[in-house]
Point group: C2
């Protein structure tokens, strides 16, 4: 099944490699004289040399060899550059194969194009030094290291014909996310997914240190990779001809093994998890670059990480060494008179979309198909009146997601990811239509596991996020469900993805991809049983630091709103949507029609809970989030019972970005609409799901901001009861009522009495749970006043009465 590498081929491969190396050095150093047709002079050279040489020649080597096998075996393959600092390599190769000039016609295949190619690199107004979204053929930016392998796996899910060649740097290999990702092979189906070909590039050094995997014995390294379930093929050395032969043989071998594995699995002959091949390439850092500069060894050391030679524009003494280095690639043999790569070398590249820079999977929006969406309204919780029914919001959502999976089973372009929490987050219904995908052995007692499934679960948020990003970037859809607190584990991955989305919005040839949807459940207010470590609503704060064009945050107060929001998010493109929703049974407020209206506005007055219809309100009770909404409505019930003349307006916020001004976020309300909702001068008691100061940050320039009094999570909590979590943070109904009383312009005997009643109730609450371990009232009900007074009320009745 292997095609013997032809020695002629290897000369061409070497010529390609030299051309790519030449173009890489050119990008780093040259402003002009791109083919050295004049003697090199200082004014041809950039003064500020920015970029990374160390990884570049190795990556050029790999790219050249992959070109050969793509042609030889007619592969559908693309390239992920883990050591993403090697921007010059990917730019050089995609330029040589022609894709670069097709996308950027001003960078033509001629001397002038070469000059522009060189100048733009790491130059203001030009392109970044890393493999960036501007680079064709890339779905992976190497700024922050660790995610290449999980991106590769995400990309090949449901793409059985695709191979992701994933170059992993030995520096990147030290990161946690990368270390975890080796085990992704326990989840990959050889039947319905494609293949990942990892190429571990041991060039020995990071910025200033040796790399761990490059300094363990060959035996340990081999054990390690075999232990991770891979069959490593080693390519080691520094001599180019010998290395070409080794590499060609290894790549042929790997492709042969991949094809054997896939055909054995797809014919049903082999059902066990396969041992996939991978390549270990050990080559010198800064290979083919300067050996020594100023008496210090450069090639093969950490000193070649960035720029091996200082700029000869400023330090003329290095001019001969730069010229010698550039000439060592023999550019005159590589490029014709016009500056075009000679045809016999250019022929190494595959053609059309087989070129790695033109692989449509790497511009996922090209392949994106809208999801087929069932009508979310049919999953509605039916109710006669607000507060009349109870439901677990995520359980309801689970049924909808189940049918989204079902509706898109044929196109296989939707998956759900999670860190072993899909059942815990009560999305169980999805397992009625699809198991979790798992290709390790399955035991009798296991539930919902199969080699082919739509749910991906592994106890690594990094892997979940990386897989999902790879899946989205190649034109598919997905959702990540997580415990709210632990989504911070991927803060920095979110950062990088949001940055990718922002930059690609400005690149015309990049098509929009599906949104990255987070469902955060098991949230802060229901971590009374797991305690303080599981309580953190700060991901929202983190997310909204990123560009407003990209980020959306939703806090649906009940199941019908959650359905409406989820439907919207799954249809959306090129956003990061954060949805926070509880999983425990909770009162339902809006019927489906009302929910759709409310969610499409994103914010609104709940007239049925307000009594300011005829007048201006005395107080606005605002709420965002399911638990704050419940507590607010319970507080309103108390207020209406005790202070019936007080005019209370209830405002519920689903779309948090509505609070910002329209100048700050596209969803933002203009000031007039904001003032209509929140008044210009009345107290606003705002019960918010997360850290309270976030509401101030969003509303600080609103007219009535000085009257905003926000309650939220104050980093207080331990093992307690669900209701007590709200008490500990002052978000509960009793504190809210007290807050209202304190903010009213006048006191009366009624307000004084009510304030005392709230105080006493809080004291009794504390005593009761300390004694019984249970709330004095069920979370979803409330009971106030003296226990022996018979004044027992529950939300349902009171809300109905409103």
């Amino acid at each position: 099944m292997t095609v013997e590498a032809n020695p002629n081929d290897l000369e061409i491969v070497d010529a390609w490699w030299r051309a790519a190396n030449y173009l890489s050095v050119g990008q780093l150093y040259l402003l002009a004289n791109p083919l050295l047709r004049d003697p090199l002079r200082a004014e041809h050279i950039k003064r500020n040399i920015l970029g990374h040489w160390g990884t570049t020649p190795g990556q050029n080597f790999i790219y050249a060899h992959l070109n050969r096998v793509i042609r030889a075996y007619d592969l559908d393959m693309f390239y992920i550059s883990g050591p993403g600092h090697g921007g010059p390599a990917l730019v050089a190769n995609t330029y040589l194969e022609g894709t670069y000039s097709e996308i950027y016609p001003e960078i033509g295949q001629d001397v002038q194009g070469l000059q522009k190619l060189f100048k733009q690199f790491s130059f203001p107004g030009g392109i970044p030094s890393h493999v960036s979204p501007e680079c064709p053929g890339s779905i992976h930016e190497g700024g922050e290291l660790g995610y290449s392998l999980s991106h590769a796996f995400g990309a090949v899910l449901d793409n059985p014909g695709l191979i992701a060649a994933c170059v992993v740097g030995d520096g990147e290999a030290e990161t946690g996310p990368l270390a975890a990702a080796w085990h992704s092979n326990k989840f990959l189906s050889p039947v319905t997914d494609g293949a990942v070909l990892p190429i571990l590039h041991l060039n020995g050094y990071k910025i200033a240190n040796p790399a761990v995997l490059a300094r363990i014995s060959r035996r340990e390294l081999s054990d390690f990779l075999c232990g991770c379930g891979w069959a490593p093929l080693f390519v080691e050395g520094a001599d180019p001809p010998a290395m070409h032969r080794q590499m060609a043989s290894a790549v042929d071998n790997a492709i042969g093994q991949i094809r054997d594995i896939q055909s054995a699995a797809r014919s049903g002959y082999q059902t066990q998890r396969p041992i996939w091949p991978m390549i270990v390439l050990r080559s010198p850092k800064g290979w083919t670059g300067p050996q020594e500069v100023d008496g210090k060894k450069i090639e093969g050391t950490f000193r070649s990480h960035q720029v091996p030679l200082p700029s000869p524009a400023l330090h003329h003494q290095y001019l001969p060494q730069l010229e010698e280095w550039l000439q060592s690639y023999r550019p005159a043999e590589l490029f014709d008179e016009t500056g075009h790569l000679h045809g016999h070398i250019a022929a190494l590249a595959p053609t059309g979309t087989s070129r790695m820079g033109a692989n449509p999977h790497t511009n996922g929006g090209l392949l994106l198909r809208d999801l087929r969406m069932p009508d979310f309204r049919q999953y509605a919780v039916v109710m006669r009146a607000p507060g009349d029914e109870e439901a677990s919001n995520t359980t309801v959502l689970g049924r909808f997601l189940r049918d989204v999976i079902q509706a898109n089973a044929g196109t296989r372009n939707f998956r759900i990811f999670g860190a072993d929490e899909t059942v815990s987050n009560k999305l169980n219904a999805v397992f009625e239509t699809s198991p979790r995908q798992w290709t390790a052995p399955i035991d009798e007692q296991d539930e919902f596991l199969a080699p082919d499934g739509r749910i991906m679960e592994v106890l690594s948020e990094h892997l979940c996020q990386g897989w999902l990003e790879g899946y989205l970037l190649t034109g598919r859809h997905g959702l990540f469900n997580s415990y709210e607190a632990f989504i911070h584990i991927v803060d920095s991955m979110f950062n990088q993805h949001a940055k990718w989305l922002k930059v690609t919005l400005g690149i015309p040839w990049r098509r929009k991809i599906a949104s990255l949807n987070y469902l955060l459940s098991s949230h802060v207010w229901r971590q009374d049983h797991n305690g303080f470590t599981h309580q953190d609503p700060g991901f929202i704060d983190h997310v909204i630091n990123k560009k407003a064009e990209i980020v959306r945050v939703y806090l649906p107060p009940d199941a019908n709103c959650l359905l409406s929001v989820a439907n919207h998010c799954l249809r959306s493109k090129h956003y990061v949507n954060v949805i926070v929703a509880g999983k425990h049974p909770a009162p339902q407020w809006l019927d489906m029609e009302a929910a759709v209206t409310h969610c499409s506005m994103g914010i609104g007055i709940w007239q049925w809970a307000s009594n300011d219809q005829e007048h201006d309100p005395d107080v606005v009770m605002a709420c965002a989030g399911d638990v704050p909404t419940l507590e607010t409505l319970a507080a309103v019930s108390i207020l209406r019972e005790h202070l019936p003349r007080l005019r209370v307006r209830v405002v519920n916020v689903v779309d948090l970005m509505k609070l910002q001004s329209g100048r700050a976020h596209p969803h933002g309300l203009d000031d007039r609409d904001f003032d209509l909702l929140f008044t210009r001068d009345k107290p606003v008691i705002f019960a918010y799901h997360g850290y309270p100061w976030l509401i101030h940050r969003l509303t600080y320039n609103r007219t009535n901001h000085n009257n905003f009094h926000v309650k939220g999570y104050q980093e207080e909590g331990t093992i307690s009861t669900p209701f007590d979590m709200t008490v500990l943070n002052g978000l509960d109904r009793f504190h809210l009522v007290r807050e209202v009383i304190e903010r009213l312009p006048e006191t009366s005997s009624e307000t004084t009495y009510l304030g005392q009643l709230m105080e006493e109730t809080l004291i009794r609450h504390r005593a009761y749970i300390n004694e019984h371990g249970l709330d004095m009232l069920e979370v979803r009900e409330w009971k106030w006043g003296a226990e022996d007074s018979g004044q027992l009320r529950d939300d349902k009745k009171l809300v109905r009465r409103i």
Copy 2:
């Protein structure tokens, strides 16, 4: 070197194990009748059963066996519970060994104490279900998984006599941080550090899924662990007597190997990196618990993860099964009449501080010694006038840190951690006194590597953070230097550490530990060369969501302030200190005396740069951060040149928390002082290092807040020039001047002219860098007005003139 396990010992070990299991089940279920001396009835049982059984019996098994070897070999050992959900196990064992009752005398060694022990578990007002700070002997809370092994390594650094027995759950083993941490053995010195004994606990399941490492072949698992540099010893089965024999032999073997390795290394006989032993314990999840409930298999499946039996208080049918389960441990044989563990079983435990629950390393504050600090003033940048000198702030700091290392070389209680960035962050001077610690092979070309060194570098922020936390928690000092953007990688680890600090503040027997100090350099404003992926100042926003008692943020404007701040942070206790400081040469503003005064205030008017001495200012120019300070002073220079009658006040903020009110943060200014600085009604143009809305969030309730106009990072940036980074985000001197002009109550011909001049200058700036790739002005200088007008000024002169 091994002590033969005595069969009698193993009977005692088994009795201890049964006792610990009994106490664990008791904690989960019982409110009363703790020794089952009455027939079990519903009212003896908790209604709400919260906690995790699955991992608990395995951990009890391990703890019992470790007790045996601590006694046999007189070890200094403590226990880290990676699967931290197993709170009942650690509580049970520390109770049995006596430490629990010593710390909590109300939980005595009698029937009443047992009853309290049981009731408090996962009960409001009681203790969390996870291994929490309340639990003696613990430095590691298992809420968020992944950090056990890095904590263990951090703990044994510089503790040559200490062994950290680190139980790693097979769920936790899927996380990235844990996967990376196996390789920590390439950094551990067998001479000067202690040993980590990892015990990989394969109980097969997570919450709802099988665990990856439990479902690969024994061969793959062995390869994997060997490949990570460990010598695994396997203990596998379910039959208690056989398992006791296997485990005793494995633990003896491991201790023998550790001692052999250490003595070979310490005698100088062996200098290569050793292969350390570890144990793989494969035992059923929920071992010894109910086999089957409601026809479903429980022991050995994921169903035993939390609570195997529903509460018999609510579901009486489970009462017999619970009683049978409890009785299976034969409590009558274990506890005497008073409820005390029988003496011959209790004797398994070591005594005094040899008990793992009483090991002083686990209450690091007990061992904490203040650092010996050189006088930071002697590293001062000397200047004649503000702006007169230039220096790289972190380079200056590096010299101070070098001497901190030197001064504490004898006590070996200070280390610096970083992800291969210590040189890049320009702390190079530290290598004059200490190399990086690295026990893998060292090549001729390597720099600053040795098997014993004070600097720890690995390309994993997770490992750096985990090691440092372990080091601090065991009573030592340290600093983590990082690129600013990539510190987000450890957002969630910071969360958990901050939560630990907050909770331990409220636990009287826990002593304060040294602060966790972050030095964030290579910051957002100097990532013009690496580009957008390297730009993120949001860690500050993340940090200040945590409790005000714990978090501190410093933005020193120059080297002398940085020295003063660093000196303060290194002396401080029980905080997380975030220091942001640039590494590139930059103007220096304050001489040492002024810097000390300024930093001790944390905020202040820079009179020398202001001209409002005789009057109220017309405008306040505030700044926080080194680059914003430079741009503000440059803007002030322009304003003073062009609008000499304008009264400008310059306020510089070092301690960001000064901006908050005193109610929100202990460092907060009271409103009167704040108003004295920022006025009650004048425009405040605030140039801030990070996301601008953070300043609004901190100041929203200040008198003059509506006049605050903040400039900061707006998530705009790419490959450009350093100065252009400020322009792209509107933080540069020209935008600041325009902002002032726009906020003045009146316009004049001078202000109109100056506004136009700024506009034109910005246009010329853009054209210039697009052409030349360089700033029209050096970052540290400025030039305004027509280039041909000869009006060239630089900061130095202008500032001096002020």
